[in-house]
Amino acid sequence: MTDFFDWAYLYDTLPALLRGLEMTLIVSTLGIALSLAIGALGATMRLSGRKALVWPARAYVAFIRNTPLLVQLFFIFYGLPAIGMRFSAFWSGVICLAVWGGAYHLESFRAGYLGVSAGVKEASGALGLRSWHYAVLIALPIALRTAVPSMVNTSIAMLKNSSYLQAIGLAEMTFVAIDRIALEFRTIELFAAICVFYLVIVLAMSAGAALLESYLQRPFTAR
């Protein structure tokens, strides 16, 4: 290594890193979208009050939250083909992220829903609304407001966790960087670059979340 930080090298590698970044963003976006669907469905099951629906949802959350994402990933990518379910690295990654994030989103949805005060339910009952009217038209919008911060937190965690997909050979940003390091040993430049990229994305997501939160809090702020 000639000098400590080689800007010219970084400039040459940038296109490859950006392609990796693109993959990181695609896989995370798909994962986040799917996980929100899983979380919403799961929360509905969890809140339904029927044992046959509540227990699978509880077991799902407990299992996902108490096992490492990396092992879940290996189980999906290397374990499932042994029983005939084969997914590409890309879809294994999407499925793994979605299933992982879904468990956390489920809890956020649920906490938000349970956070709606009992008075609101009584009021909607007094106004003659049916229970599903209450759930969809009254409780859901209020619940989403409380659930947004922790849902954003989960989504940020999912974006960061997409770096684990390096381990199954998906060409996302971390994979590109480590692949280059194996060839060219430019550790400092490459890690500095991907750290900056991750920081920028995460800070942008946090800033976006803050805007969204203040937007959702509009009805409650004094003018």
């Binding site: 290594m1 407990a62 299992f63 939250r65 108490n66 096992t67 490492p68 994402l69 990396l70 092992v71 879940q72 290996f74 189980f75 290397y78 374990g79 499932l80 083909p81 042994a82 029983i83 956390y104 809890e107 956020s108 906490a111 938000g112 349970l114 956070g115 005060s117 409380t146 911060p149 922790s150 937190n153 989960t154 940020i156 965690a157 999912m158 974006l159 960061k160 966790n161 997409s162 770096s163 684990y164 390096q166 381990a167 971390t174 480590i178 390091i181 550790t187 400092i188 890690f191 991907i194 750290c195 991750y198 920081l199 995460v202 800070l203």
Partner: protein
């Protein structure tokens, strides 16, 4: 199942390594968390600002990248770390940043009236911290901290990727051998078994955390039941 019993020795060694790794990481993370929390709560901006920036950066960079970075960059600046040490350093830094957030939140949760009362009684700042604030802060700190331990146990699996022979790596070694000799179901069985082992350890810790929260908050006013749950979600370590 046969493949597990035949290789139980190597898998057991892996589990022991996972537990050893967790133990070292826990000590490192707690030390880092204490220092960072002290920095974040300091009255001097010269300590507060760097501590906050450090915590934010540690929480925003993926843990996997942090561990890889330490493992690959340390040798180029003249510090040779073996995989075990690199994993402990990476997880310690990450756990420390997340632990610092929990500790800070716990100390800030003690009402300011307590601090004022201490001042009125003429207690020194550190006496107040040790005798009045910390004992009360432990109540909001301990349950989420135990939750962080759960995350750290899971995160030790990253060690497998840089060559620590912990539980996941041991399973991979067994799979490599078994697939060459017999093929078939061994990846499915072994990864499922590894998932179950992690689940047993972490679920027990999670139950302990929930139980501890219930016991520690039994004297509090039963306000709305959903709120503490949400606050715990917000304290969730990020990835």
């Amino acid at each position: 199942m046969h493949v597990i019993f035949v290789n139980q020795e190597i898998l057991a060694q892996g589990l022991v390594m996972t537990l050893a790794l967790t133990f070292c990481v826990l000590i490192a993370a707690t030390a880092v968390a204490t220092i960072l929390a002290a920095g974040m709560l300091s009255r001097s901006a010269l300590l507060r600002v760097p501590a906050r920036i450090l915590v934010e950066i540690m929480r925003d960079i993926p843990l996997f990248v942090t561990v890889m970075m330490i493992y690959f960059v340390a040798p180029t600046i003249g510090i040779a770390l073996d995989p075990f040490e690199a994993t402990v350093a990476g997880l310690g830094a990450w756990g420390g940043a997340n632990g610092a957030i929990i500790i800070r939140a716990g100390i800030q949760a003690v009402s300011s009236g307590q601090r004022e009362a201490c001042a009125a009684l003429g207690l020194h700042r550190f006496q107040a911290l040790r005798l009045v604030i910390l004992p009360q802060a432990l109540r909001p700190i301990l349950p989420p901290y135990l939750g962080l331990v759960t995350q750290l146990v899971q995160a030790t699996s990253i060690g497998a990727l840089i060559g620590v022979r912990e539980l996941l790596r041991s399973a991979q070694i067994v799979i490599e051998r078994a697939t060459i000799m017999e093929g078939g179901l061994s990846p499915f069985t072994l990864y499922a078994a590894v998932l179950v082992v992690y689940f047993v350890i972490c679920f027990a810790l999670s139950l302990a955390s929930a139980r501890m929260e219930a016991v520690l908050s039994r004297h509090e006013q039963p306000s709305s039941s959903a709120k503490p749950r949400l606050s715990r979600l917000r304290l969730m370590p990020r990835g």
